[in-house]
Symmetry: C2
Subunit: 309 residues, 2 copies
Amino acid sequence: MNPRVIIQEVAPRDGLQIEERFVPTADKIALIDALSQTGVAKIEATSFTSPRAIPNLADAGEVMAGITRHPDVDYVALVPNERGVERALAANADELNLVMSASDGHGLANLRMTPWQSLDRFPAMIEQARGRDVFINASISTAFGCPFDGEVPASRIIEIVERLTSLGIRGVSLCDTTGMANPRQVRTLCEEVLERWPELAVTLHVHNTRGMGLANALSAWQAGVTRFDAALGGLGGCPFAPGASGNVCTEDLVHMFEEMGVDTGVDLDALLAVSQTLPERVGHDVPGQVVKAGRANRRYPLPASVRAR
Amino acid sequence: MNPRVIIQEVAPRDGLQIEERFVPTADKIALIDALSQTGVAKIEATSFTSPRAIPNLADAGEVMAGITRHPDVDYVALVPNERGVERALAANADELNLVMSASDGHGLANLRMTPWQSLDRFPAMIEQARGRDVFINASISTAFGCPFDGEVPASRIIEIVERLTSLGIRGVSLCDTTGMANPRQVRTLCEEVLERWPELAVTLHVHNTRGMGLANALSAWQAGVTRFDAALGGLGGCPFAPGASGNVCTEDLVHMFEEMGVDTGVDLDALLAVSQTLPERVGHDVPGQVVKAGRANRRYPLPASVRAR
């Protein structure tokens, strides 16, 4: 199994987009800059979406302009359409994350497009980025199931990945948008995708809606996946997928891998320190566990009654 | 991998013992009787401990006398000493769960005994039960790490299991009492124990203190473990292990296995219905996820805006 994994922080985008209250631009910038110092390889900093659709990220341009770029971090922007690509390129994003749904229902509800309509639109968006030093990733939402349509067959994901790679896309995220995936399903689909496209950069993006986030990440790692999206504190969800709760929690994921002897490149103590600032920034408690319980190597003094004996 | 696992419910004991307020005896009995109807194979109903040490379970005898025995359920009583064995036998427990710690610090803090002192005491307790139709299991607390002493080497667990089996004990629970275990460690230790003692009934008992409960259960299942302790709603903890939060949540564990196609014998909808009664019985919200999010097969209607198109 791989002794090294890559952690991709998505809280500034997938986390903050669903918060009840708008997180001020300066706080977003401070959060991203703090995350940049923790060793995470990528940060999905924002989304160049219609401010009407996602008002919480209406400041995408200001955020990208305000952050201090760390040379070892790739700053990713989610883009739903040509206008988004244009804005993300103007903001010098290191990576564009094209987004589509695997299911008709979620695609129509979230993007007003079926999967096939999204795929038809991608070539023009890719063309826009030609000649620019920018990596293009495509995220496949509801890849493990759709809250509207139900089961999404693996064969449909294979067909979508086939189409994406034929467009020249070299990175694909398999997204369990509403936390419906189980470890067996994750293992089977990830193994099939990695076997068919060994050169493809495959990311697992899971939510902890039903408590299976870390188990699904473990299962994907066992299948050979080395790239993981996660959100600090377990923030997140999808505004168009009712019932969804948080993304898998970055510090809990890093903690699990580090405890297993799998290098994440992340300074966990630094990450936990940033996580401790979250409740104040977002105005509520967050789901992460390790920040509350401490790392597994936390020690307690023996009770006085024992020491006295 | 095994297509069938056995779920052992421990909320009435490991859950209720640490609650801030005493749960009335009638409520305990109602909870156990409701759990008896869900298909769980075993219920750890109570602990015959000193009422001074664990006041919440001071009604152990009344609970055992008040429940309605389901013929397919084994009712387990935890027993820390000879007096406990005597009381549990008088109460007609189907199984005695002898308890010890793998680490000196936790053993002294929790039981006032080192592991070796516990092992020296077990023969007399086993002798008490001779000729009675009662199964004897031994739980090894802090088998994956101790909050006071730190790392507990696997070799120590092997030595303890060797001693236990030499006493004629045929069931052993490996307990991650304060949620320090990681999936790699769980897999390695479980594989070694199962390989050395293929006839031993090995139970994994994990806490979700650092979010790894389901990942650790998955890992143990991959190692060949088929018996799992879990607490409804994710209740629980250990009164003598500071920092510990809940046991792995029964309904979340059952949900994961059932989604994977692994039969648990449990009627998940019935279990979720019992879980929904918990917050009122214990007076606070509980950590379980599936009871809040619904099963993965939960469906939502498409938004009206999509349906109108």
